[in-house]
Amino acid sequence: MNGYYAKRILSALITLLIITTLTFVMMRSIPGGPFTRERPVPDEILKTLNEKYNLDAPMYEQYFDYIKGLVTFDLGPSYSKIGTTVNDLIISGFPASARIGLYATILIVIFGIPLGIISALKQNKPIDYLVMFMATLGVTVPSFVMATLIIYFFAGKLGILPSFGVTSPLGYVGPVLALSGYSLSFVARLTRSSMLEVLRQDYIRTARANGLSEFKVIYKHAIKNALIPVVTYLGPMIAAILTGSFVIEKIFAVPGMGRYFVESVGNRDYTTITGITVFYAAFYILMVLLVDIAYGFIDPRIKLGKEK
């Protein structure tokens, strides 16, 4: 078991290194730089800026300096918010994004999974059609449309939600709803199809034949197995949702870190792009690892580290 974790951690570190390297090299190879301005910056100032941020050093040197910083969790200064470090951006942005993401995740789990199960159990009944109709809608309507509609109706027409910000508890309603819409629908659909699949399995028939109560069949045998694909999806989804969404954060004016993913690319803010990407990647890898551990609990046949 310990050997397994050591292997996993080692492979995670290698993945992170590859991601860092790729982001680092790719960003620097596209045209434009962090100090490209409509009104060109005087040469002397540009020189100072490049020196200051070590951008005049050879690429490999910059790279090793960056890795050195990374090891000590120092992601460097942001070029586009002077006087602010990438660590500051993550420290200030992540909690806001994560809070919205966490509420959205809770919503997704407590609504998505039960709705999927109910749908599967009442297959081809009106409730199934209703849930699947809503779920299809949720999957196809893009989040920015949903966000705009929420603001238009709940903040504009009804005036029961604030138009922007997450300074009051109600401020969370809009962003959480808009953020969870897609995944909630997806989870409901996934749960339903996986549940239907499981219900057709031989062991369910056997369980029923053995005279187990329907309740026991469903809860003890069916759901647990049906949840495996759902858990597989939930892991990476949580990583993506907790690190923020550019669209949702922009529309609801949430001070999260999701927007840095996009804005920093436009600004050629090399350190921010790389830093945020590494943070996201690390979080993602961690979530995937947690999913693997969760498998073991849901289905004891899956034993970690004994794949061979």
Binding site: E38, P162, L170, I223
Partner: protein
């Protein structure tokens, strides 16, 4: 173990179902609770709710180079003078005197304090200005010293001269003497710009790279308001500064600024009464707001939107060809489509500059035969035919390059259509992401590329001088010795002579037609009628120093 787990799962499910029931009830309980967090105007406190726009990169006056930062700085700092709607008011300087030869400007400073209560003297200005010039400070706006004509300033900016030779001296605690290379009529109004606002040395040195300005504990300032909180990506709060020299005329108790860069959200919040002042509105709303809403304001901005010919290419060598393309577009139609009150541009200098006789430069200059509508299409066709391309036959297809944005795309599509129908010339459209576009344009890898220029001081020279040979922003690579000579002359002349030279320069420029002027920019804003007494500088910076809120 297995039993326990399944039990837990069942428990979790039932809890979630219960929670689900609880959740469905929520909407009915929400309306009551929402009434309370209607923040701000508690009692008699007058707090302005303002959308700053994007989270400013910095709010250190010396380092700032962006309008959102400038808007905040204009509330927290005070320069020697304050400009409102084009008029100069005394700021920290009580009075000033320009010497006979125009080469020395002496400012008499009032006795005033920093927000921490310490005295503000002429030495603070000397320190702040030298900090701005110093390449070690790396202020992106240090190029502006070129236009001040301050003795020795550009040498320092270019890393060649010594700080000791700079013509800025505090002759005593309250007298600031500024020496100029050439007489510069606009110098006093230019000094109202944020780059020239004073900063306190001990604050600046307490946190590197302007971080002090966003830290309420360190952000000592001298303006009408002082920073009380700053949250990255969220907003800031300002409180009235009791130490401000003119504090008795500051009516607001504070300002709550938010950073919303999504226009639709900001507009919704304004309509809900959550915001009093928003700097932009969704484009789709502009025509209606212009027509119906008296609280919607459109101001001219001192800038021009245009297209650059790449004069390094053979295809643009014939001035008749360039003229033909410039005459073939209907500027009024473009402006009507954009519908934000923009002014069609026949020349390069926008409305808003007064010449020595007090006449508007833009109006006096006239149109140089360049139409604002589509009335000269026949002339354009004739010019193109004379140049050897009757009905556009034989003229190479070329690419219109612009940076990715809805607005730019609209303009590009319109002129593409106009070139096609009016001249019979086919073009392709290409858009590039902003940073890529700037690089492409700078290296001259284009045929026809969008350009835009906004100036930061009250003289048409700021616009015309970018097309002198070798200027970093001369994207068409226009080079005309006579034009260069005229602008050099403009730099050292004053009054009528100065403006005559500039009129002549613009005439020469349009005769050579290295760019296609399209329109002059405008600045729009939506302001609640509750907010009274607000103002803005001609350069587009908002001013709440004498604003108040009424019921």
């Amino acid at each position: 173990m297995k039993k326990l787990l399944s039990l837990l799962l069942v428990l979790a499910l039932s809890v979630s179902l219960l929670a689900a029931c609880g959740k469905t009830e929520e909407p009915s309980t929400t309306p009551e609770t929402t009434e309370t967090p209607e923040v701000t105007e508690t009692g008699t406190e007058k707090i302005l709710n303002w959308n700053v726009g994007a989270d400013p990169k910095t709010i250190d006056p010396t380092l700032n180079g962006a309008s959102d930062g400038g808007d905040v700085i204009n509330q927290t700092f005070e320069a020697l003078v304050r400009e409102k709607s084009g008029e100069i008011f005394p700021g920290i300087a009580e009075s000033w005197e320009v010497s006979e030869d125009g080469l020395t400007v002496t400012f008499k400073l009032r006795e005033s304090n920093w927000s921490d209560g310490s005295p503000l003297t002429a030495h603070d200005f000397v320190y702040s200005w030298k900090r701005g010039m110093d390449p070690a400070t790396a202020s992106e706006y240090s190029w502006i010293w070129e236009y001040t004509n301050v003795v020795g300033a550009m040498d320092v900016v270019n890393g060649e001269g010594s700080m000791d030779d700079v013509g800025v001296v505090a002759t005593d605690d309250y007298t600031l003497e500024v020496k100029l290379n050439n007489p510069t009529d606009y110098i006093v109004s230019l000094l109202s710009f944020y780059h020239f606002m004073p900063v306190k040395q001990s604050s600046v040195e307490a946190a590197a790279d302007g971080a002090w300005a966003k830290d309420p504990a360190l952000a000592v300032s001298n303006g009408p308001f002082v920073l009380t909180s700053y949250k990255i990506g969220e907003g800031l709060t300002l409180a009235k500064n009791p130490e401000y020299w003119n504090a008795e005329n500051v009516m607001l108790d504070g300002i709550k600024g938010v950073f919303i860069d999504e226009e639709a959200t900001s507009y919704q919040a304004y309509q809900n009464g959550e915001l009093h002042f928003i700097p932009t509105v969704p484009t789709a709303e502009t025509p209606r707001l212009i027509a119906e809403d008296p609280n919607f304001y459109v101001f001219p901005l001192l800038g021009t939107y245009y297209y650059n010919f790449n004069l390094n290419l053979d295809m643009w060598q014939d001035v008749r060809v360039r003229k033909a393309f410039a005459l073939a577009i209907d500027r009024e139609m473009i402006v009507e489509t954009l519908a934000a009150g923009q002014v069609p541009a026949a020349g390069f200098v926008p409305p808003g500059f007064l010449d020595a006789d007090g006449n508007d430069f833009f109006e006096t200059a006239g149109s140089y035969g360049v139409p604002t509508d589509g009335s000269k299409v026949t002339e354009a066709q004739e010019l193109l035919a004379e140049a050897g391309y009757p009905n556009g036959e034989g003229f190479p297809e070329f690419t219109i390059l612009y940076n990715t944005s809805e607005g730019h795309q609209v303009v590009a599509e319109l002129i593409q259509e106009m070139f096609k129908t009016n001249l019979g010339v086919n073009t392709k459209l290409e858009n590039q992401e902003w940073a890529v576009f700037q690089d492409t344009r700078k290296v001259g890898d284009f045929e026809l590329a969008r350009g835009g220029w906004l100036t930061d001081f009250m003289d048409p020279m700021g616009l015309l001088s970018i097309f002198t040979t070798g200027n970093a922003y001369n994207d068409p690579k226009y080079s005309n010795e006579e034009y260069d000579a005229l602008l050099s002359k403009a730099a050292v002349t004053r009054g009528k002579e100065h403006f005559d030279v500039l009129y002549e320069a613009q005439e020469m420029f349009i005769a050579d037609m290295p760019v296609i002027p399209v329109y002059h920019y405008t600045d729009v804003m939506l302001v609640s009628e509750k907010l009274q007494g607000w103002d803005r500088s001609v350069l587009g910076t908002v001013d709440f120093s004498s604003a108040t809120l009424v019921e």
